[in-house]
Symmetry: C2
Subunit: 194 residues, 2 copies
DNA sequence: TATTAAGTTGACCGGGCGGTCCGCTTAGGG
DNA sequence: CCCTAAGCGGACCGCCCGGTCAACTTAATA
């Protein structure tokens, strides 16, 4: 692969990730190309369809989370490890990632596999946290996989919320996962209110 | 207003609500019209733009919730009242209602006013629940307004979840709002798992 | 029933989208 | 340094969308 092609590919992926995060999945390919400073045709040289581009962006994010999960799976405190994983997930996943992943099979087989790997990693983290008594006995990996995007999603709709508002909702939701009578986390105050 | 026009208008609103809920905000006007069994032109006779149609649908939903909130504001048990309100909200709001409401001002002034009225009603419910000690002292109406759509939203992404899966996540989230050491609600088991 | 205004309809329009293509540019090995 | 193939870019295509319009249909009144 030629050097300029590799550079443009990296530029394109970065621009696409930013564009999808800011404007949603409906950004036009032309917009992404302009943001990357390349021509529209070049986008389709690197990725046959817009969906393939999206899949590649998602693949990077899912892999990063999976690796973080693998690292945290051997931590001393399984409860803290799960919380840190959820923090990473909420931090990165500002947007509607789950809606993409749900239809991952239709988009891309590799992405579908990556999702399965991430879910398996979540199962491990949740299992360890459950055994350690850090979360309720009936909480499943699926529960956590579904709930982990909620803080970022929900905070995104705040009228005046600061950029860290998601931490507040992560704390609230995580406390809902804890066993009966657990002392809840200190909940960060809302930075601003309506 | 002529009788057939009123009938078509009702048919149209029902079809639009169903279509938006099932297919998202991107359903074409033509699809909605076909679903209602009327011509596409008739849609634009009743509502000048697609956004106006959407605003009318949302207006009905927001008003219904506001009225339910007003009824619950005088209930004996403020904690139970808030929970019932959240149950109603999660039950109806399967979809991305918040994303619409956030841009309500851009869509329609009446909708913007209706949203403000609903938020005020939520503030009342939350205030009463807080005073009764049913929820944490630091939980605000904005918190609840943001979190109330999360159960429906999150459950919608479950691969095999039953239609009542949102109840599970409502219970978890509501428990996160309760004061320290509160006995959590019984959490409905997941109907199915991945 | 005759009249008419209100209501309905689908063909039609401009615009923006994803995706294609071919002439131009340029990296990089011999 | 030159040649060539890999890479680039933007004009272009077909499609579908929201929205318009003029011809047609019908409910309601006298």
């Amino acid at each position: 692969m030629r050097a300029d092609a590799a550079r443009n590919r990296a530029l394109l992926l970065a621009a696409a990730e930013a564009a999808f995060a800011e404007r949603g999945l409906d950004v036009s390919v032309a917009d992404i190309a302009q943001r990357a400073g390349i021509g529209k045709g070049t986008v389709f040289r690197h990725f046959p369809t817009k969906d393939d581009l999206l899949a590649e962006v998602m693949l990077d994010r899912v892999h990063a989370l999976t690796h973080a999960g693998k690292r945290l799976a051997t931590a001393d405190d399984p409860g803290a490890a799960l919380l840190e994983f959820l923090t990473l997930a909420a931090e990165r996943q500002q947007q509607n990632d789950l809606s993409v992943l749900r239809e991952a099979h239709a988009v891309n087989e590799r992405l579908s596999d990556a999702r399965a790997a991430m879910f398996a990693q979540i199962d491990t983290l949740v299992g360890r946290a459950r055994e350690a008594g850090a979360i309720r006995a009936d909480v499943t990996g699926t529960d956590v996989a579904l709930l982990m995007c909620a803080p970022g999603h929900v905070a995104g709709f705040a009228p005046h919320g600061g950029p860290d508002l998601w931490r507040r909702y992560l704390a609230i939701i995580f406390d809902g996962l804890r066993p009966h009578g657990a002392r809840p986390l200190p909940v960060p105050p809302p930075t601003e209110n309506s």
